[in-house]
Symmetry: none
Subunit: 130 residues, 4 copies
Amino acid sequence: MNLSFDIDQSSPLPLYAQIEQGIRGLIARGKLREGEQLPTVREMAVLLRINANTVAKVYAELENKGILKTKRGVGTFITKPDPKESKRDRKREFIELSEKFLTDSLSLGFSFDEIIQSISSQKKFINKGG
Amino acid sequence: MNLSFDIDQSSPLPLYAQIEQGIRGLIARGKLREGEQLPTVREMAVLLRINANTVAKVYAELENKGILKTKRGVGTFITKPDPKESKRDRKREFIELSEKFLTDSLSLGFSFDEIIQSISSQKKFINKGG
Amino acid sequence: MNLSFDIDQSSPLPLYAQIEQGIRGLIARGKLREGEQLPTVREMAVLLRINANTVAKVYAELENKGILKTKRGVGTFITKPDPKESKRDRKREFIELSEKFLTDSLSLGFSFDEIIQSISSQKKFINKGG
Amino acid sequence: MNLSFDIDQSSPLPLYAQIEQGIRGLIARGKLREGEQLPTVREMAVLLRINANTVAKVYAELENKGILKTKRGVGTFITKPDPKESKRDRKREFIELSEKFLTDSLSLGFSFDEIIQSISSQKKFINKGG
DNA sequence: GTGGTCTAGACCACG
DNA sequence: GTGGTCTAGACCACT
């Protein structure tokens, strides 16, 4: 299992945002689960070939948001699978997401069936039940 | 038809990248076509509620890339339908879209099956003759 | 009017926490009001004789908490007088605060009248009404 | 009587400072007096749910300052009622307390008069003969 | 000139 | 060895 992800040093999206997105993705895909330990700040910095302070900033932000929990002198751990707001809010946000995805995909010229096909084909990369 | 798009002042993605992405999107979706005129720098700045210099820099950059062409004293025009939007590139963009959609949806706590279900349920709203 | 406050370099309380507390205090006492601009990051760093990054960290944190609002390329401004939670929560927190203050003061050997006297004597330093 | 106090693992004030402050507080309030024994390092660590090394460092530091005295194989004892707690020092601590209380209350949105009112209203609960 | 991002490297608190 | 704090200084995005 690969706990890392790609960082694009020349992307306009700042490194810290790419890391945050990467970690959220690992959690969302079930590659990191509640209670599991993340690579240490310094390990992650080496993995991503960036400065440790940048990683520390992300860990701190994700702790603020309740996604991670750091234990001083021990390490950094996943708390929960990114719960966000109330169930109703999550439902509304999800509907907006799927409508936008569908609109964007269709306007790129893909058919409805191609869209369903693409989503379905990604199922094998997800290990929720692992 | 609305030639504008949304700018998120608090997004980590810099304004210039949001504007560039917005314009490329309008082209990709066919809302701006070869030869068509863009809003002037100042109009666009007012539309997006940002500083005109920022818009000017994006126009200049897109002109460098050959996507726009400025005619002094006349305006700024689309030159071609964004070479990035060849079939291969559209495919890549679509894959990125669907991966991001899946990540975001999973991180909101929805299961893979719920996601497929949601997309499928929107089929009836689609106008095939669009 | 003095927009600064004291920083104790040898306090166990980290600098950033002292600055945050100082700014909250200025707001609470009405010395900084809604819409007013804070000293720039670099000015504040000079005033407090600390590194600008440390000030920037505090401004960013207070923006996260909704106390400050930064406008890129312009400066940092007060949004609201530290609203915190709902009215009911604030009331409860206030009651706890005043009970703790009273208990601590009494156990230091001060009389009830001395306590009232001390609070009253601080009224002259507060300028809510400008 | 409860010889413990609260530790906030997520406070910016380091654990060792919280412990030192807690012990000084117990002495200032007369809950620990000259000659009395403190919980052992390990007992205190369990009470506070922190690592014993951290407690040991505080005990050592307070022994350095002459506030505690460790008798090997016996335990740790209060030597004097904390010289910091002379009349002048108690006065200073009280002033800090009341300033902090005022700042915190104002920042919760309560007016000066409401604060005075709240303190006054607690007079009837005070046992003068305590 | 404003705030934001990143690096490199030191030192501290904690286990 | 773990994360946290701070500094110094570079470069970027924005007005």
